[in-house]
Symmetry: C2
Subunit: 285 residues, 2 copies
């Protein structure tokens, strides 16, 4: 496995790959790799000749009171995992290379970023879009892979790639879960054993709602109440939002029958903020 | 000369060019071509194997009370000029293709866009950056060519290309002027004969200031006064701003000796808004 810290040598390496006529799959990450990231790598290996991963904890997507400083950084372990799973090249830029003195151009997403995470984390998606655009411009992959766990992020990136004519394919792969249903996240490492057990209320609630929906429940209010009930029963879980929205526009829906919708959750478990979601496929499709 | 309205066929054509190992020069324009645009084409022909021009009057860079509707549109004449000057391919996208329903992602420039044109035309540079990024992503040139007449625009685009790692070279070519000194602009077509004569005060004032600077005048205030004096003497010319700024950061300077500075002007001549500028090279370099 090749590793690159500098843009120049990475661009040279990738130019060679492209000249050989090989396709490039790109998995951008913030490191602290888990089976969710590895499922993206596996998917990229199926779809492309070469898999490039980036590992970069991007400061511009963290708010001033968020966990940028404490975010888990385990580079040697990540490189081992990436190498074992067949990643061809890892790019680990420095913060100074990504944001040199005088840096000032941002990408501003539109209405898709106005709700949900965008409301609770002002500027977050602008930081996400900006770093993803930078990395896409450096790697110029054929396909880029994102996890459904960050549903709103994936939709905003799809929209950005479309709006700005990046010409790359965005692939969104299913959330990977622990045996008890908890969505895998690098932030799960923050949880105590007790918090970890309580956190399951989130995915259990989402599953309850999906079951009710499958059994015929259409009211967003009723479905939300099912999720909220699960979370209320866990003293350690404090719901930040539970919203049912159109899966494409992310606009709130009242009745979930003729459109494809998604239930999106953010909750605090202790000081750890977790997000999760579940798709409610349209009944008419 | 090839012409393309659709992204798909253009991308296919350009992929072929790149596979032949040829370099691509890109000249984005809003049409109504004049000798200024043609000097960019000539420069692109010198630097690159293939020259691609776009012609698109970009709505997102016009304010609500600006001249988007009346902006000169003379496509057949432009295509003839482009063909005569050796342009290899012209891209003329439709507004619907550039901004389809649901379009929402913008590029937001930083402090470079806060002053001067940015102050007088809110949102203008966000519109410029967004369309240029889109066109760069579609054309993927080796070099893109811009005129110095739009000095602030050129600096902001250079900064965007650098900040977002586009990896293309931005070439800024000198302003082309009429015999009497007026900077060529598609908007000069709006001027009556009388206004056209009066408009020369702008370039005459800039030249007066350059002469004074060369002769030793360092005070930005004194140099500005020289330009303003010329414009005050023309009743038809109404100065919007005359600023002397650092040529890289665009921050105002008081003394023009140790830094490379530029005098930037915007003025109304009748209802027509014109801009111009002149570089004051650093004396120490």
């Amino acid at each position: 496995m090749r590793t690159f810290q500098q843009i120049g040598p990475l661009r040279t390496y990738l130019r060679g790959i492209r000249q050989e006529g090989k396709t490039i799959g790109f998995v951008p990450t913030m490191g602290a790799l888990h089976a969710g990231h590895m499922s993206l790598v596996k998917r990229a290996e199926q779809d492309c000749d070469i898999v490039v991963m980036s590992i970069f904890v991007n400061p511009t997507q963290f708010g001033p009171n968020e966990d940028y400083n404490s975010y888990p950084r385990v580079l040697q372990q990540d490189l081992q995992l990436a190498s074992n799973s067949g990643v061809d090249a890892v790019y680990t830029p420095s913060t100074e290379d990504m944001y040199p003195a005088g840096f000032q151009t941002l990408i501003t997403p539109g209405p898709l970023a106005a709700y949900l995470e965008g409301e609770h984390r002002p500027g977050h998606f602008s930081g996400v879009c900006t770093i993803v655009a930078k990395l896409l411009n450096i790697v110029q992959p054929d396909r880029a892979f994102f996890g459904q766990k960050d549903y709103q992020q994936a939709r905003i990136i799809e929209q950005m790639v479309h709006d700005l004519n990046f010409g790359y394919e965005v692939v969104v792969a299913p959330t990977v879960r622990a045996e008890d249903g908890l969505a895998l996240s690098s932030r799960n490492a923050y949880l105590t054993e007790e918090q970890r057990a309580a956190a399951c209320a989130i995915s259990l609630g989402l599953n309850d709602a999906l079951r009710a929906y499958t059994a015929g429940e259409c009211s967003a209010k009723a479905l939300r109440e099912i999720v909220e009930c699960r979370c209320r029963n866990e003293a350690l879980v404090s719901l930040e939002y539970c919203s049912i929205v159109n899966s494409l526009t992310l606009e709130p829906v009242e009745e979930v029958c003729s459109v494809s919708a998604v239930i999106l959750i953010a909750a605090k478990v202790g000081k750890t903020r977790l997000i999760d979601n579940i798709l409610l496929p349209s009944r008419t499709s």
